[in-house]
């Protein structure tokens, strides 16, 4: 990270460490998560999907029910409360799918903070609805027309803004990426997902699940679900990356399938890069998975073989979107549809007594236009 930002990162690490120990901070965050976000979210037994796939029992952790429609608000609330403690009046964020941007715009409106969100112009196009939602919430959406015009460049631009306004602004990074303390702090804010899910499955089934499945862009919803189960050796975990148009096409964001270790945006992790160490362009139907790096903790668990990683292609994710909509009346976010796509392959191979728990990290309302476009339907 640039020297200009190092003191701000140190300050953030110190403030976060203090907040983490402060029972008042926890009480306040719990209050907003309960009364405003709508936690705990339910753990729903998807009976028709289970029957249709004919194997393991499938439970959906319903993060799509959170206020603003995805798990991103868990982190946004935590960081906005932290911003208050640091006495900063302005927040900035990057966004890919727009879910993190909307979550930050929402939390900023709630606390009366000025908010600017950086978004690649390609993402603005495929997530036009979320762009408008942010504007309705009083946020300025700043188009980023550099490089791939997606999440990677939005993060770079947000970091440049932060470098320029570091004394008055807090940067609310949206996933378990970036320099310390971000990956750790964001994991902590998202770990509420797994804590709830663990209690809920014990209540419903009296035992732990056999598999946990979640999509992995930066990887915050996955790490949020997985963390509470990491010590349960028998619980297998699978992260699903974006296979885009297929690995062989080169147009994907499957970092673990073909990437190598490098450093981007202040973190050492698996990256998609060329022979010269230049970050490669990625592709995914879902803007939230369209990023060349993955959270460093995922790289750690990949190397320790605690979490397995696979990918689902655009086409498989679209099929999963349709399937879940028609069997359960739930439209998943295209990101979450990647996790569902893997479940459709996994569940039939397992016994009926086994349990798969999937993180339905967001709802698909934001993707309706994109889905229509892919299906060739004009609205």
């Amino acid at each position: 990270m640039p020297e200009t930002l190092v003191p701000a990162l140190d300050e953030l690490a110190t403030e976060y460490a203090k907040a983490r120990r402060d029972p008042k901070f926890k009480t306040e965050l719990d209050y907003y998560l309960r009364e405003y976000v709508g936690r705990p979210t339910s753990l729903y037994y998807a009976e028709r999907l289970t029957k249709k796939l004919g194997g393991a029992k499938i439970y959906l952790k319903r993060e799509d029910l959170c206020h603003t429609g995805a798990h991103k608000i868990n982190n946004a609330m935590g960081q906005v409360l932290l911003t208050q403690r640091m006495g900063k009046k302005r927040v900035i964020a990057e966004t890919g799918a727009g879910q993190h941007g909307v979550a930050v715009a929402t939390a900023a409106a709630l606390f009366g903070l000025q908010c600017d969100v950086y978004m690649g112009t390609e993402d603005m196009e495929r997530q036009a609805l979320n762009v408008f939602r942010m504007r309705l919430l009083g946020t300025t959406v700043k188009p980023v027309d550099a490089g791939s015009r997606t999440l990677k460049d939005a993060i770079s631009e947000a970091m440049r803004d932060w470098t320029t306004h570091v004394r008055t602004t807090h940067y609310i990074l949206g996933s378990v990426l970036g320099a310390h303390p971000y990956p750790m702090m964001i994991r902590d804010f998202q770990a509420v997902i797994g804590r709830e899910a663990r209690k809920q499955i014990m209540k419903a089934e009296g035992k732990l699940p056999d598999y946990l499945v979640a999509c992995v862009g930066g990887g915050s919803n996955a790490i949020g679900l997985f963390t509470a189960f990491l010590k349960d050796k028998k619980v297998k975990m699978v992260g699903v990356e974006a296979g885009g148009l297929g690995i062989e096409s080169g147009k994907h964001a499957a970092r673990f399938a073909t990437g190598s270790v490098g450093v981007l945006h202040g973190t050492m992790t698996y990256l998609l890069q060329d022979d010269d160490g230049q970050i490669q362009l990625t592709h995914s139907v879902s803007a939230g998975l369209d990023y060349a790096a993955v959270g460093p903790e995922h790289s750690y668990y990949k190397e320790r073989e605690r979490i397995a990683y696979t990918y689902a292609t655009d086409e498989e994710a679209m099929a999963a979107f349709d399937l879940l909509a028609r069997t359960e009346g739930l439209m998943p976010a295209l990101e979450s549809a990647h996790a569902i796509a893997y479940v459709t392959k996994l569940a039939p191979k397992l016994k009926r007594s086994q349990i798969i728990m999937v993180n339905l990290s967001g709802r698909g309302d934001k993707d309706v236009h994109q889905v229509a476009r892919i299906k060739g339907v004009s609205l």
């Binding site: 640039p2 020297e3 200009t4 550099a146 490089g147 990677k152 770079s156 320029t164 490098g262 160490g277």
Partner: protein, 255 residues
């Protein structure tokens, strides 16, 4: 003594300040800073971002830049500093990079996204190879960080004149002088000021405050704007005007 150190000493003996000219790897400066293009240059403003994009599109790579330096070294002994983002070096291999860079004739290295805290592997390798690692300080740096950088930086210390990115507007010039004086409490290593120095007038004022001035975006702009054929002449004229601004009280006869 490294080529960078001896240049600063020679200039100081003449009452001059160093003009450090940044160019994207594609040249009257005392030190040349060669930008190694990276796809995601988070410390750079639009001018250098676009220069990097152009360079990458035309097929520039770290290997090719090192080859250019080797051939350049047969013509000039001017100190050459690389400005490269960490992933470029990490991907090349830190030890191999230090060896190849020194063999090619590179004297120093600025890694804008690598503060000393994160230089644990590269710094000792560079030191062993004889490559000066130049660290940066910023207006936000604490006294403790100033002391650390003053101790670890070789060749010179790069003081970032503003909280922002390259090519931004330099507004608080008085603060720069104050910060440079703070840094000098810890070290005799020369302090050069960069970011936002766009005109000979900026260069003159900053040269009064520090041992050197670094001009990047403004030079890249001179190359990028206007026709290709006359770029060298425009660059030369602009560099001379900047160099004149760093001569202190001396007459302009040397130029």
């Amino acid at each position: 003594m490294s080529r960078i150190q001896s240049t600063f000493q020679r200039l100081a003996a003449r009452g001059e300040k160093a003009l450090i000219a940044y160019i994207m790897a594609d040249a009257g400066a005392d030190v040349i800073e060669l930008g190694v293009p990276f796809s995601d240059p988070i410390a750079d403003g639009p001018v250098i971002q676009q220069a990097a994009e152009r360079a990458l599109r035309s097929g520039t790579s770290l290997k090719k830049i090192l080859a250019t330096v080797r051939s350049l070294r047969t013509k000039t002994q001017v100190p050459l500093v690389f400005m490269a983002y960490y992933n470029s070096i990490f991907h090349y291999g830190e030890a191999v990079f230090c060896r190849d860079a020194v063999a090619a004739g590179v004297d120093g290295l600025i890694v804008p996204d690598m503060p000393p805290d994160e230089a644990g592997t590269l710094r000792p390798l560079a030191e062993k190879a004889g490559l000066d690692v130049i660290f940066l300080l910023a207006p936000t740096s604490t006294a403790k960080r100033q002391a650390t950088v003053a101790r670890l930086s070789r060749g010179f210390i790069y003081y970032v004149s503003l909280t922002g990115i390259t090519g931004a507007k330099l507004t608080d010039k008085a603060d720069v002088g104050k910060k440079v004086r703070e840094i000098r409490r810890y070290t005799k290593t020369p302090v050069a000021v960069g970011f936002g120095i766009a005109t000979p007038d900026d260069a003159r004022q900053m040269a009064q405050a520090a041992d050197g001035v670094i001009v990047g975006s403004a030079l890249v702009k001179v190359i990028a704007e206007g026709d290709h054929g006359s770029a060298a002449a425009r660059l030369s004229a602009f560099t001379r005007s900047l160099k004149a601004a760093t001569l202190g009280n001396r007459e302009l006869t040397v130029v």
